[in-house]
């Protein structure tokens, strides 16, 4: 196995939400449905790069031949040199973003120089599924605790409560009851 440094890539996010990160050698950041949902936190606050530790082929017990697809770029993927791929394994649909290692290091250095960004600052809360706004509990100016309900989006006969990822003040609620929202639309901002 030859590893040419010019071609080295790192994985910046893994998971259905694209902003959930796991450590390849550890356990997933998401401990299941019962725990607070880290997917609600913005991508930048969570991003950590990963280096793969090879596993033997059969360690995962997968019998379903994995399929890999390149996804069309979204946002500033092209400009940032990022690639998005989707892997399907045993029916799990997993989206992975890869970034050239050199660029990832530059970005991290910039982040460190900026004085530990990732905490504080306004947090944007985006729609994880398209749907209809069923309820809105919070209003701009409200002081909320982490985990407080902000609003709920209904899709496919189910209502999905969206809670504040942090304690702070609601800066804005961009939607009203019965609004239809698209995937990725900004719903609220909390600081």
């Amino acid at each position: 196995m030859s590893r040419n440094d010019d071609r080295r890539w790192r994985l910046t996010s893994i998971g259905a939400d694209e902003d959930r990160v796991i450590d390849l050698d550890g356990s997933p950041a998401d401990a299941g449905a019962a725990s607070p949902d880290p997917a609600l936190a913005p991508a930048d606050a969570q991003a950590a790069s990963l280096d793969a530790t090879p596993h033997p082929d059969d360690a995962t017990g997968a019998r379903h031949t994995p399929e890999v697809r390149s996804l069309a770029p979204i946002g500033d993927d092209l400009a940032a040199g990022r690639r998005r791929l989707e892997v399907t394994i045993d029916g799990w649909v997993i989206t992975i973003t890869a970034e050239p290692a050199a660029r990832a290091e530059l970005r991290e250095r910039a982040l460190r120089a900026g004085g530990g960004a990732g905490h504080g600052g306004p947090q944007s809360i985006k729609a994880r599924i398209p749907g209809r706004v069923a309820r809105v509990w919070a209003a701009a100016g409200d002081v909320v605790a982490a985990g407080d309900r902000l609003l709920s989006v209904e899709a496919m006969k189910m209502e999905n409560e969206i809670r504040s990822p942090v304690a702070g003040t609601v800066l804005a609620i961009h939607v009203a009851v019965d609004d239809r929202v698209e995937l990725g639309a900004e719903l609220a901002v909390v600081e």
Binding site: P28, A52, V68, I96, G184
Partner: protein, 533 residues
């Protein structure tokens, strides 16, 4: 042409969408009946629209403005000279007012009479009916309870003590797990009653709730019934539908494993008694709970074709939609149905249905609408797929997440499970997370393989975090190897396609992805590694 093969109707409209609309159109095509689809704006290009001879748009995406617009659908039926409407399941299928409006327009409603629907739609009324024909029901109340003042609170608490905990608070107009609350601690009762009533009001327009004992560890079994206008009712077999989440079914099988012919006769006879008491004509299903020591309790009757009717079709050899159409046209129960009823206690074939839905089983089965960039259905001996989707289409968030039903049959349950595992391995998906990983896990569970079924199995045993994490680790390795050029896969992962992204920023159409790793490549790679290491 013999009388029995003359088409019962000339032109039939299906007031539904997705896989069930296509399922009904198929039966119509077999019989030479012309078909009419209705659709919302977002479904204009949907597979069910193309499966029909005629299609009419009836309104915007939200169901209340399209698929629930009974008035508009009746109007379309009149304009097009339709002589029968099949409601499918969900939407308008159990609304007595719709059935009445259809009949008033001189069109045949394929389903039970409006009065039967009205009687059975009310679960409390169904409980009273069961009691009147000596069919056992769970301890509970027979009248709606209302939380108005402290007096009523005391009364409800007294009712609850009589019923015994744990208790389910249920909406009398309910369905699909809505307006339902489990209560273990008497202190939580008032809150649960209030919550269930509010949810029921929002979902069904009625705040009526009642109390029923929760049967811990029980199985869900149900009986397929058919009736004709002369008042004959038969049971043609039962299904086990214990594998559920949020009181919604994930897997159904026929026959119910582990029941003796005597058990079946007793169960089927109870179901027929209730159906006769409500004057059932056409198709319905009576649902029961079966305790771990063999006790049966009646739950409710669903007066329509069920999602899971296909497993009974595979186990009996009948086409239930075809039978429904002849029954709706006034025919007697067919010789095929009577023969199936005679054999119902001693079934000779087995079948299972796995519901493939746009839901994330790692996130509490949350809905996952979006573009289905990859969809390839399994086939082969014993495999039937009733599907309403195709590769490249966007799964709208406005409707039920069911994509397809994977149905498998065989000589016995072991053969069925083996075939089902094979079929799941052949099903290829992408772009949208589905319930596929759950089903793969389920078919390897010892309790499931042994037929040790219970309705709380998913809550007790489904722990997806580790499974998902293992898949993510493997995915990460594959991608890293691919992008870093350290693996043969790298050669076949192409640069991102230039296909335009979907309107929601999702991956573009099907040309936007490239399959890179087929089994032959993988096997070849493994062999080469072994040879040189």
């Amino acid at each position: 042409m013999s009388p029995s093969t003359r088409p019962p109707f000339r032109r039939l409209l299906v007031a539904n969408r997705g896989e069930i609309a296509i399922r009904i159109f198929r039966a119509c095509r077999d019989l030479g009946i012309e078909t009419v689809a209705v659709h919302s704006d977002v479904d204009a290009q949907a597979p069910h629209v193309r499966a029909a001879d005629l299609a009419v748009g009836i309104g915007p995406a939200p169901a209340p403005q399209s698929y629930l617009r009974g008035d508009r659908i009746v109007e379309v039926a009149r304009d097009l000279g339709v002589d029968a409407i099949h409601p499918g399941y969900g939407f308008l299928s159990e609304q007595a007012a719709f059935a009445s409006a259809v009949e008033a327009a001189g069109v045949t409603f394929v389903g039970p009479a409006p009065e039967t629907l009205a009687g059975l739609g009310d679960k409390l009324a169904a409980r009273r009916t069961a009691r009147s024909v000596n069919v056992p029901i769970l301890p509970g109340t027979f009248e709606p309870i209302e939380l108005t003042d402290t007096d009523s609170q005391d009364r409800i608490a007294a009712n609850a003590r009589e019923v015994g905990f744990p208790i389910l608070v249920k909406a009398s107009a309910g369905g699909g797990g809505r307006g339902m609350r489990r209560v273990d601690d008497p202190a939580d009762l008032a809150d649960a009653v209030q919550g269930a009533a509010a949810e029921a009001l929002q979902a069904f327009g009625s705040a009526q709730v009642y109390l029923e004992r929760y049967a811990e560890g029980a199985r869900h079994v149900e009986v397929q019934l058919l009736g004709d206008i002369s008042g004959n009712v038969v049971a043609i077999g039962e299904r086990d539908c214990s594998v559920q989440r949020r009181h919604q079914k994930l897997v159904e099988e026929a026959p119910a494993p582990g029941m003796t012919p005597e058990d079946r006769r007793r169960l089927h006879a109870m179901a027929v008694r209730i159906a006769q008491a409500v004057g059932l004509r056409n198709a319905a299903t009576a649902e029961f709970l079966l305790s771990r020591d063999g006790e049966l309790w009646f739950l409710e009757v669903n007066a329509r074709l069920q999602v899971e009717h296909g497993v009974t079709e595979l186990a009996t050899g009948l086409d239930l939609v075809r039978e429904q159409l002849f029954l709706a046209a006034g025919h007697d129960l067919s010789p095929a149905v009577l023969a199936a009823a005679a054999r119902a206690a001693e079934p000779t074939r087995s079948a299972i249905e796995l519901r493939i839905s746009a839901e994330d089983p790692a996130r509490a089965f949350a809905p996952t609408p979006g573009r289905l960039t990859r969809w390839q259905e399994p086939s082969g001996p014993g495999v039937r797929v009733d599907s309403g989707v195709e590769e490249g289409m966007v799964i709208p968030g406005d409707y039920d997440p069911l994509l397809a039903k994977l149905l498998v049959d065989g000589a016995d349950r072991d053969q069925v499970l083996a075939r089902a595992r094979r079929a799941l391995g052949e099903l290829r998906t992408g772009g949208v997370q589905t319930t596929l990983p759950f089903h793969r896990w389920l078919l390897d569970q010892p309790s499931f393989i042994d037929g040790d079924l219970r309705t709380d199995m998913v809550d007790r045993e489904w722990r997806p975090t580790e499974l998902r994490a293992a898949a993510e680790r493997q995915a990460a390795e594959i991608v890293l190897a691919a992008v870093n050029g350290t693996d043969a896969v790298a050669a076949s992962v192409t640069a991102p396609s230039t296909a335009p992204p979907g309107p929601d920023g999702s991956p573009g159409d099907r040309s936007g992805w490239v399959v890179t790793s087929d089994p032959w490549v993988a096997a070849g790679r493994r062999a080469a590694t072994e040879r040189w290491s």
